[in-house]
């Protein structure tokens, strides 16, 4: 009852104020003015020297990376939507948003919903300047969606589907519905040594080290920057 009365009183005061303003003719305030955009959360990265110690990049490379990073995200952090937008510019024919989501999860190590420049550079340092084992570890981390230490068939299916989505519709040969599934089957056949339905990190690294193609393609990242 008191709540009702409070609400009534509030409404009455609002009406009275409206009539007062109506009679005396004060200028109405703009409503847009009131929502200030104080949402410019500006994040500054740590010093150049500190970053150079933490990662394996030279100062020059860090500068180049930072310039590109800041161009797209002047506030200093990337949120998931911007990340997806940037990534989709490279794949005009397909839909890269799912894969970009998985990438974002892998880069966002402290799980706060945004990727700062430090996260960005740390991830890149592992991929581009790390040893083969580091890279394989990072790839495993990407595939392991729930970060429980093993890749299940469902997780792999999601990843595979997201990769195939990036191809888009216009491919040769025509994209079949079960192409991702077949790919996942062959992947598990190769990787899952003890046939328990999941791939652990050791199985993964062991199988990758035995595969010539994978080893060779891992070396591709040596001169990306």
């Amino acid at each position: 009852m008191s709540q009702c009365r409070k609400r009534c009183k509030r409404q009455l005061t609002k009406v009275a104020r409206y009539f007062y303003r109506f009679l005396t003719g004060t200028l109405t305030q703009d409503s847009i003015e009131d929502d200030f955009e104080l949402s410019t959360v500006c994040h500054r990265p740590e010093g150049l020297d500190k970053l150079q110690e933490q990662t394996k990049f030279t100062k020059k490379e860090l500068k180049v990376l930072y310039r590109g990073f800041k161009n797209e995200c002047p506030s200093g952090v990337v949120n998931e939507d911007t990340f997806k937008l940037i990534y989709s510019q490279f794949f005009p024919q397909g839909d890269s948003s799912t894969y970009a989501h998985f990438l974002f999860e892998a880069f966002d190590t402290n799980k706060n919903g945004s990727v700062s420049f430090e996260d960005f550079v740390t991830g890149l340092s592992i991929i581009l300047r790390g040893s083969i084992n580091d890279r394989l570890n990072w790839a495993f981390n990407l595939y392991d969606l729930n970060k429980d230490g093993c890749i299940t068939k469902e997780e792999m299916m999601d990843i595979m589907k997201s990769i195939y989505d990036m191809m888009g519709k216009y491919t040769y040969p025509c994209m079949q519905e079960d192409a991702p599934r077949e790919h996942v089957e062959s992947f598990f056949q190769k990787m899952d040594r003890n046939n328990d339905g999941v791939v652990t990190i050791d199985e993964f690294i062991e199988s990758c080290q035995k595969d010539e193609n994978i080893m060779q393609s891992m070396q591709l990242f040596d001169n990306v920057i």
Binding site: T26, E33, E37, G168, T171
Partner: protein
Amino acid sequence: MAAGVAAWLPFARAAAIGWMPVAKCPMPIAPRDDKRQDELIILNVSGRRFQTWRTTLDRYPDTLLGSSEKEFFYNEETKEYFFDRDPDAFRSVLNFYRTGKLHYPRYECISAYDEELAFFGIIPEIIGDCCYEEYKDRKRENAERLMDDLEENKDCKLPDMSFRETMWRAFENPHTSTMALVFYYVTGFFIAVSVITNVVETVPCGATPTQKDMPCGERYMVAFFCMDTACVMVFTVEYLMRLFAAPSRYRFMRSVMSIIDVVAILPYYIGLVMTDNEDVSGAFVTLRVFRVFRIFKFSRHSQGLRILGYTLKSCASELGFLLFSLTMAIIIFATVMFYAEKGSSSSKFTSIPASFWYTIVTMTTLGYGDMVPKTIAGKIFGSICSLSGVLVIALPVPVIVSNFSRIYHQNQRADKRRAQKKSRMTRIRIAKKGSSNAYLQSKHNGLMNELLDLTGSEGDQLHLNKTCSLLESQHHHLLHCLEKTTAHEFVDEQIYEQNCLESALQSYPSRTPSISSQEGLTGTCCSRRTRKSLPLPNSSMPALHTLSHTQGLQELSTIHMHCPDPQTRVVSRSSLNMQANEVGRIHAKERQTTAAVISFQTNPSVTAEGDGHRSSNVRPSIQTTASSNIVKVSAL
């Protein structure tokens, strides 16, 4: 901290000499100043060099220039900080450090300025008072424009909308479907009929010899009643449908339009319910007045009415002021006139409220003349009254007019943008296509290179060995990696359709004789539009043979629409082919529209004869547009 007067800090510290003798306890230790000597910093912004002291920049440590973030932009060789930004906007940024006040230059575009501020880490709210108004106005206009764009984006059809949502969208935007348009016009028609009926009802029809002159309403009572019933039924149905479809029924019932709807149809129902009693019929007649509110239903149909209503709402305070000041003036002058005319005999000014009528008529310069002052004092005050009336009314009118003009122009701009939106989307789509075409083009040139390697012709090879920009080649390598991962390849839309056709054709081998008979036509019309590039990198001669067949079929399908030859109808098509036909038509249309907008179009027209060098001449110009689209992050 008063950063603007940082240079005076040594003076303030020296002035503390007055406290030392009277202090009871020892002073705290002063901070050591072991920073290096103040030095000049060179800021190179896109070639224009700005110089300032380091301490100037250090005044605001939470911005880019004041923090260590600027080290990322330090160029070791030239010992300066290089920023690849707009030098004109940078001037205001640097002035902020120097003077402590941020100014907004009027010639600058608001979003570009905001981006610069965001880049340098400066919050726009600290803009000085001198430029604050202008900045806020421009920002508001920009926000309105963005909101308009957002609303238009919402118009695009969502894949799964419930029936209720579709209905609501149809009501709000009649242009979304034909049913909605029909409904819109029907309701408009009935509103007009209803209003005209109400008006004609009161006109005196011709007098018959038997009865006196009576209004049409009483003469043809049944006819008018029927028309009224029909209109009210349509309005009721419309209102109930809107109520059903509204996303928030409570909010809908509170909105102005729904109240008008209810007021428009209620008198009829009340009239039905009430009996033909003598006492209540007077009240019933009054209720009929409310039927005129139906005319306000037109505001859903007319944008001008809506603008007018919106203007009045936004000028409510000015109108209120007008009303209030008029009331004050009326009371003052009525009192004065009453007392001035009290003396004269047979004066019409019997009381102050009676003088109100005179004052209103005089102040609005109507001057009916039914009440005129007779005494000299009355005449003097009457003339003062009329002069002041003109002034009081003339003042708020320009404000209302300017408000109306602003809202009207805003609506004009929104309409123009809506019209341009279509061409904007086309341009965006073409840009996207351009980048994917660039990749296919380079892939194709790659295999042309291989072909020429086999044939060993040096001349053409030179043409094709274009220096791809590094970014382009890296991007293409990325796409190539994706292809290898999924064991599928990117192809052009036309080739994709063609492949689908091919796979469909495989099941209809009997068609080939009729196709070959039509091949004569292919040479004449539409051949230029439908040239194909080699689809497969591993294509050998036999593949080309089937290619020509399907090519002919494709061209046939395009001919099918341009020169409807009765002969072609003999070739009856399965549903799959019909669909490809439709798709082919769409493609031809698409190609036509895109050719109109861009002068050069990616021309994947290569035959084995080595048309390659012609298409490669087109390539550089395409690449520039493509590279400008995709170069965003420099790393990968």
